[in-house]
Amino acid sequence: MILAAAPASPADAWLERAPVLLRDALTGWLPDALRPWVAALLSIATILGVFGLLFAYMTLAERKILGRIQNRPGPNRTGPFGLLQPFADAIKALTKEDIVPRAADQVLHFLAPVVLVALSLIGLAVIPFGRNLVAVEMEASVLYFFAAGAATELAIFMAGWASRNKYSLLAAMRALAQLISYEVPLLLSVVPVIVVAGSLSTTDIVAAQGGWAAGLWPHWHALTPWGFSAFAVFMVAALAESNRSPFDLPEAESELIAGHLTEYSGFKYALFFMAEYLGMAALSAMAVTLFLGGWQAPLAVLEFIPSYAWFGVKLLLLLLGFIWIRATFPRLRIDQLTRLSWKFLVPLALVNLINGGVWAATADWTGAAAVVRWFISALGVVVPFIFLARSLSAGYGPRTYRYASP
């Protein structure tokens, strides 16, 4: 449930408290017994509405940005600037025939997209979207988030296996291999944050990132050497977890038609897309929470802008990063994918775990010692990176192209 507003000065601003006030206005006339239930329903509806719209416009933004990067305008026919395109797509998906292959496992084939969307959504419950704006407050919310997210590949496996199609099955295998490989660095990169913040609760982690060093440099985890390294590992693993390019091997359309989506059509197909974007948004929201200070403003003078707006801005920036990366990099091969995880990301995250531990142990160093602390931490990032990068790219030197001579 949404907590009561804390009596801090920026927290008292009217805009800041607007969501809470709105909720109280909506539920105030109800009997006390009903109120928490209605409030919970309201937060569910809000999350569904906001992230549903976010999904709709992410698809549009993605197509427009991909278009611009490829020097074309992207969808611009439906409504001004193509703003109605998502709705046109939704209507199209809804009115299409839903085909289930006769040989498919009917139950699993139906269940897969439902489970996938549900699992991608429930992770959002523990994200603090703003000061006092978190749907469910619990002690182990970080763990909850990853437990919910880990099962998504299971749904992809179900989709691939139930379709009774060789391409789908290959996609299912790839999804499993990918998940097993990338779940490890994803979780390992989060551990130092938990060690430093000393809590598994998302609200506490955000609270731990408040304040500014020298009034300018926010205490966000991504702005420390170990935190930056963990952030980078997290984002790469998140790309793989959400099956986004360049790690979109399960649905590699040039090799597997559409992978696990091959036998899906109509609205179920749209559900898969929705799950992909929701998963991406959930992981980005988690990254914002863990590394980018959650809803904290980057500068004290900017605190008049409400916290949820800051959260939204950071989330959108990360999502744009996802699109940018998709537009840039070619897809990896499956051996390159697992190699990157086991030989690079996992060792890096492990070293970073020690690094984070050292940072947590030296939390009381001040003055010149703080500089030393920074230096140690930076060393703990750069040195392993150089060595691991060297071993990863050994034998993969720049290619020399030789053309046939006439």
Binding site: E139, A140, L143, A147, A148, A150, A151, E153, W161
Partner: protein, 168 residues
Amino acid sequence: MTLLLAVLALVCLVPAVAAVLVRNLIHSALLFVLAWLGLAVFYLAVGAEFIAFAHALVYVGGVSMVVLFAVLLTRPGRVDPLPPPSTQRAIGGVAAVALVASMLGSSIFWTRLPSMEPIPMVSLRRLGELLAGPYLVALLLVGLILTVALIGGLLLAAPRRPSEGGDA
């Protein structure tokens, strides 16, 4: 509360039994996932939040994948053309039930039931302190055993090179 526990027991047990009975290996693996999920919800219901999520993360997220992977990668063995005669099957069934019953029976029948007394709420921090303090040796030992098991598994599964005289 009792009703909730009963429902949860059903949610855990029905998929587990079904998993043993169904023919399709993938189905039984997925049914196991359901049973594990039920177990996680059970932990949640009795207030062990951390265990619940860790259980879901490890079993639903990790172990299930490994099981499915193993099922997909294993070549189906030769199926016996004739199922064993029904008397043999009956004997086997009785033996299995007796074995499980004798193992579980003691804990089920000799444990006092009033476990419905208020559960002591252990905070996450306390849990961590316990694990890193008195139980540290146990934790490390478990980790060691798992590592040894992993290496042993790798050694067993790794294809032998012909130079080593293996027959693989």
